[in-house]
Point group: D2
Chain length 311, copies 4
Amino acid sequence: MTDGPSHDDLQDFLTDLDAELRAEADWGTPAGYIPELADVAPDQFAISVALAGGRVISAGAHDTRFSIQSVSKVFTLACVLGRIGDQLWRRVGREPSGTSFDSIVLLEREQGRPRNPFINAGAIVTTDALLDGRMPNLALSEIIGFLRAASEDADIHIYAAVAASEERTGYRNVALANYLASHKNLFNPPELTLGTYYHQCAIAMTTDQLARAGRVFAGLPDAPRMISTERARRINALMMTCGHYDGSGEFAFGVGLPGKSGVGGGILMVAPGRASIAVWSPGLNRYGNSQVGTRAAERLARFTGWSVFGG
Amino acid sequence: MTDGPSHDDLQDFLTDLDAELRAEADWGTPAGYIPELADVAPDQFAISVALAGGRVISAGAHDTRFSIQSVSKVFTLACVLGRIGDQLWRRVGREPSGTSFDSIVLLEREQGRPRNPFINAGAIVTTDALLDGRMPNLALSEIIGFLRAASEDADIHIYAAVAASEERTGYRNVALANYLASHKNLFNPPELTLGTYYHQCAIAMTTDQLARAGRVFAGLPDAPRMISTERARRINALMMTCGHYDGSGEFAFGVGLPGKSGVGGGILMVAPGRASIAVWSPGLNRYGNSQVGTRAAERLARFTGWSVFGG
Amino acid sequence: MTDGPSHDDLQDFLTDLDAELRAEADWGTPAGYIPELADVAPDQFAISVALAGGRVISAGAHDTRFSIQSVSKVFTLACVLGRIGDQLWRRVGREPSGTSFDSIVLLEREQGRPRNPFINAGAIVTTDALLDGRMPNLALSEIIGFLRAASEDADIHIYAAVAASEERTGYRNVALANYLASHKNLFNPPELTLGTYYHQCAIAMTTDQLARAGRVFAGLPDAPRMISTERARRINALMMTCGHYDGSGEFAFGVGLPGKSGVGGGILMVAPGRASIAVWSPGLNRYGNSQVGTRAAERLARFTGWSVFGG
Amino acid sequence: MTDGPSHDDLQDFLTDLDAELRAEADWGTPAGYIPELADVAPDQFAISVALAGGRVISAGAHDTRFSIQSVSKVFTLACVLGRIGDQLWRRVGREPSGTSFDSIVLLEREQGRPRNPFINAGAIVTTDALLDGRMPNLALSEIIGFLRAASEDADIHIYAAVAASEERTGYRNVALANYLASHKNLFNPPELTLGTYYHQCAIAMTTDQLARAGRVFAGLPDAPRMISTERARRINALMMTCGHYDGSGEFAFGVGLPGKSGVGGGILMVAPGRASIAVWSPGLNRYGNSQVGTRAAERLARFTGWSVFGG
């Protein structure tokens, strides 16, 4: 097991990686279901690596904010586990789903208990558990507060226009939320939980900010101590088995790091004890995960030897 | 990240663990579908940890042979990948299945391409690929040879009676094999592939032998160099996401190590760079994985801090 | 093929049947999901047979109004086919579903096109097609008007309290409607279509009224000529294969008449050329169809020899 | 309700129909999975109508023998019900399947109890029940004997080459049979039941013979009295709801007669009290039912007014 490359070598690698990926110009297609995502130029890439010791090494558009979308689910999960602990697992499972992110089929088979907290249905339940009878702005403040504290950066906000747009077109999520409610696995009014959910997904961050926020899962010695080692380990396990929907096995196979992707093209990855990594490129592959982001993750993992499955 | 406990501390821990688990006496129920497995006394436990440096530290019935059953699938996979490489992935996927080990449903949805090489359908395809037109005894010699070389122990054999028993009652596997054949994803006659499959599952080993054989996946410096680092890493990733059927997410969450279970009650686990671990206890939990073995794995992971998701 | 019993024999049979079923006192359980249905006393039974020539022969509580619920779907279908004809079949299929009435699974498999117009999803699409951009009261007037004209009885109304109650608790239907909308198979706002749907289901009728209304499907010579012979035949075919959800095959096997059941305990049946029959008893069997009503239907079919599958 | 056309009118209609269908020349594609069926010229058509009074009126190639395939399932069902009565229904259901004829999915959901006796799994169970521990030739003699007696024609035989060909390629059916065996719903060795099943499917008949055999279900006064009125009625009900696999609803909707199709291009239909009808044309539509045969059935039903759902 190696400790990975030096700062300089890593900086050179990331700079080269950015150039290579731009040269390859195989960007995939941004999510098309709302204008705010569809209109993002696909030929963008950013990568940031937050290391033990406090350094963040970056390349590409690492100062550009993007909609973190489902990457937010990891942080909401951390907030909920901090609030109610293992009670959450009565309402949501911990197994990969074997289906696409917004499937309603497994939900029917499993009587309204989502398979894991990262598919849409499970994330809606998680948000519902965080809401806990409070007004949405309180729950959202908690998530934003967590992100700001974890990244030590107060400049993190919600893009209200993205949330509003999702709210207008999210029939599938309304279906999921009401289906959960029909199984009594939603405790707040569906529209309240969904409103919170859309706003949480509409948080905008740079890869620098996201990499710094992810340090709490990587257990870096100088990261803010916001969650216990055991909790971080378990959240990492969930990211490994369920973080990329029906492409989770593939990501584990090719990259070997726990990660969570979002439809906005962001991916957060954790190299336990070593680094927290954020990549972003808005074009998606067939699983709904960032195409260039996934490729970058594979190359970074190979270069650094940080795969949790052996150097 | 710690390097784990000293040899003495580990030995003490394993000895205590054996005593504790015996005291708890919550053994689960051995697999009931063939007499050879059903008749095994449930109150048995063994654990062996093969470490870098060559030491194997054990407790319990670590000299008792048990039927490794599906644990064999990891070794067959290693043999096949050595033989035909990534061609295998044309015939079998790399995603968790979200269903039980012998489900035929996903196979129908995915047109005869099993989701991964560890569910029964996928393991049958993998065995079929290893067979490759040869007589079964040649393929079986290859698997046995791999196990002997990896464990540096020639005393590993097949329990023919177990294979014969499975052959008599394995209607479900005959169904899977013929279903695969109907999708042209079986290249040898179903009965030949199944015969090979049953014999591979009927290999008997002790936990000491299994832990030593697993060193090739752990990348221990003194282990026989039989597979590349990259291949080991990828097989470990598959064990993490798919190694425990529909309990894989739970195992990753609770233990945090790549592992493969068998219905005979054995589990092989890999702590990359540190150790290869085998546990055995014949009673099963509701996922079909060893009940006491899973509990032992959780406690060992907590004690050692070997979870790949962070110490 | 016989022409069935005389009026007197039929009256005697129905009177005896009513007594028998009361004596058997095996009523099943009324639908429990809204108070208005759950609170109905289960030990009630009514049957009415509208014959060619204009006579209606009845027994039991044939003047008691009950919520016709899904029986309304046959009349809504007739209205829609009258309005837009075979265009409807672009949006909904004509095959039995093989699943329960409110399943969302097949909807996912078939990309948002419900299997038939009688499962909930298909009935929601049918109502949506009838609504056709109009205000709900116009569509509802059309259905009520159809029922009044068909039964030649103006005293047919909606129980607003039932509709309101369903609207408060119908999470599953909200899920279905939004799922349909996500597949662009709902043209009006989900809440508007659902409001119309709930009100149509909340129509209250007596078995006498319902039997008279059903004459338009039976092709009785003196019935109002509201739909063509071919259309009636086709609606009857749909009732035969899909009218009792996942108990449709059983109903065809045991009764042999096209029929449509409702969760309020009503069943409308058609004996083409001979009679229109309505039964009601609020307790349900495991398929969600009236338990005593189904039994009454079997005995009536045996007595009269009216099965379409041979006397 | 009319009694249908005169003999002369019917003869003229059938002759014209034959000419029309030939002119349209839209034949579909014969089943391709075995050479014996794939090599049949698709541009063939035959129709025979057996009427009360003993007349059989025909057109097209009504003396050409074809493989009746799944049409045999109706006769096997009649034999089994005669032998063991309603006990059969413990092992097989009476509901449409909502899936294709050889699906294994529902079988898994319903724990090895096929949905109905006409999908492959259900027909295999039915054949298994007829076999009942006897040698296959006894069961086959019973089916052939039934067909000869029903059609009053001794010249009905099995095409052994078709059976042998199916046996060589029938992986999917082997899968189904073994799956049933794994659920203990097969009482004879899978290969014995399947051998019987293939031979029963390989019976060759002309449409004249098939129409005459079907008279036992139509309850024609001069037909051999081989099954009771009630049994015929119930078999007809099953043909109506399940006789055309996942095209059953469509067939009921378009034709309105109970019918059973076979992959050899034959369809048997029953107009209770009036006629038994056989059509044949080897090209299939997307449901696996005869394309031209289905079209002929629709036109015949419209011409005669024999739909059970109203003239």
